[in-house]
Amino acid sequence: MAGLTLRNVGKSYGALQIMQGLNLDIHDGEFLVLVGPSGCGKSTLLRMIAGLEDITDGTIAIGGKVVNDLPASRRELSMVFQSYALYPHMTVAKNLAFGLQNFRMPRSEVERRVAEAARILQIEPLMDRKPRQLSGGQKQRVAIGRAIVREPKLFLFDEPLSNLDAELRVQMRAELASLYARLGTTMIYVTHDQVEAMTMASRIVVLRAGKIEQVGTPQELYTRPQNLFVAGFIGSPKINMLAAEVRADGERSLARVAGFADFALPGLATRDSRLTLCVRPGALHVGGGEVASEGTIRLVEYLGNETLLHVALASGQVLLASIYGQASYRAGQTVPVGFDLADLHYFDASGQRLEPEMPAPVPAQAVSGSA
């Protein structure tokens, strides 16, 4: 087991710089998820850690040891690939044992570990099959088995669940989580699915265009997204974003959001006149709120324990509201909609998070008119 340190890591293909100045500390025993939209460099980063891709700048250290020039085979890590990459010409047993034999492990030890892995993953009946005789879920287990027999310091997962159907994905997610609980080894897990990230990670790294947007626990990311991108990326259903114009009104700053009455903002360390205010669908109140307006329900999505309403404001913007339990709303209905200032996330014109300096003041009832 080992921690991992990235210092100023960069990657370029010729003149094309795709990653620059990346710094990251991964703690020993952590389940770190790299998440981001496709093309954000998360797989490349994982492959750089694995040693499958050269780094052009900086250093990568595993367990305190710089591994820049160490080939993948000597980094003492294992990796589960999106396509599983099982050796098609070998049986399951051979697939599991192959890596161990490469490290010249005694036969008895190989057999012990393979048996152990097979037991953990419940693939014992499959040991003599070839990969093409396996179902997707079975292949996935074998791929994981191949990773765990090595007893590596570090596990790398490259979107391992993306080829599975939804049901199987949920099941495997749970199994991976319990595997992590059992092994306690450092794991780095790449996915584009923020639900996977939220459910499994001890910490999440959100990447965009080769840059780290935020690192933090799932809660941190959810409750205090550091920028608009993270706010938009983490959380499902997606956060509502409202463009606000700010003007000074004496001591106070007033915000104007299309469709709402102007309201006073808490103290924010910015002089930008255009902010973005975000509110999670769960915090959007249908039927009131400190700041309120009216909207027309365009669509009702009934999800069982919650109901999702798509509410169009007069301005045309559609907001999402998530309501617990069953609600008797119909499409076409006009409803009041609003939010409380305490639930707002504030972002400046460059998309960076702003922390309110004091508790939100009383709503600005005095301010009249709505746009």
């Binding site: 993948a72 085979s73 990796m79 690939f81 396509s83 599983y84 990459a85 050796y87």
Partner: protein, 294 residues
């Protein structure tokens, strides 16, 4: 869709497919047999020519000989100053060594071109392709001079050594195309499993490329076995002649030729090739569909 529906649909599909396949199979066989006849004609003709009296070989399109000249075979075997036994041994030595050389050296180079990253890869690949394009006849003489200076003329070295040095670039290109088809994640998985590049080549790429290797082995065998230009230039001693070279001893432009015997020996010279073909074509069939992993 319920499970029952699914089973029924699958069953239906299967029945339909079976029915269509049976009809299709019959038609296919009929077609293939027809084509086979056209394909077999030259061999039958050759066989019949090898059994015909000399004056029936030409002008007479009848396949059935008026009298069977089996002595074309027995006499042909010993018609030349050395018996064909020697020529077969020689051909076998040259061919077997060449096939081994080709498979080893070309798969090495192909693995490098298809899988490894190194400076100048495209440049070297272009150079390699160039050697495929140059008409052989104009390098014949410089090559002869070169081997002469090495003292290799009148030995098998000029025929065998280049093949251990990947001179038949056709096979490199062939293998490159097949290697590139294998999922790269297999190499990467193997890398992480502690494989050196050589181990990846040996334990992953080669076993997964049996169809390509089988194809290369077959071509290599056939081409070396049938090659006569290089043996013609480099072999002087009739005791070292290969079978195709020996076949060239039968014909005289102006004087008496022994066509019947030559054809008889030509028929026999095909036997090892056909045997090799039948043995190695199984490799092609046994290929593993690796690209179906996604």
């Amino acid at each position: 869709m319920s499970l029952d529906d699914a089973t029924r649909l699958a069953h239906d599909l299967k029945l339909r497919r079976l029915r269509r396949e049976r009809n299709g199979r019959l038609m296919k066989h009929a077609f293939l047999i027809g084509v086979s006849c056209i394909m077999l004609y030259p061999l039958l003709w050759l066989l019949s020519a090898s059994l015909k009296p000399e004056n029936e070989i030409f002008g007479n399109i009848e396949l059935w000989p008026s009298a069977f000249q089996f002595q074309n075979y027995t006499k042909g075997w010993h018609a030349l100053p050395e018996s064909f036994t020697i020529f077969y041994v020689n051909s076998t030595i040259v061919t077997v060594l060449s096939v081994i050389g080709n498979l080893l050296s070309c798969s090495f180079a192909a693995y490098a071109f298809a899988r490894l990253r190194f400076t100048g890869r495209n440049f070297f690949f272009a150079l390699m392709m160039m050697t495929l394009m140059i008409p052989y006849h104009v390098v014949l003489i410089p090559q002869y001079v070169q081997f002469l200076q090495l003292g290799w003329v009148d030995t098998y070295l000029p025929l065998v050594v280049p093949r251990f040095l990947a001179s038949d670039t056709f096979f490199i290109f062939l293998m490159v195309q097949f290697f590139r088809q294998l999922p790269r994640e297999l190499d990467e998985a193997a890398m992480i499993d502690g494989c050196s590049p050589f181990k990846i080549y040996w334990a992953i790429i080669l076993p997964l490329s049996l169809p390509a290797m089988g194809t290369a082995a077959i071509f290599s065998f056939i081409w070396v076995w049938e090659d006569f230009l290089a043996p013609l230039i480099y072999l002087n001693d009739i005791k070292s002649y290969t079978v195709p070279l020996a076949l060239r001893l039968f014909l005289d432009q102006e004087g008496q030729s022994a066509y019947g015997q030559m054809f008889a020996m030509s028929v026999l010279s095909l036997v090892p090739v056909v045997i090799f073909f039948v043995l190695f074509q199984k490799l092609i069939v046994r290929g593993i569909a690796t690209s179906g992993m996604k």
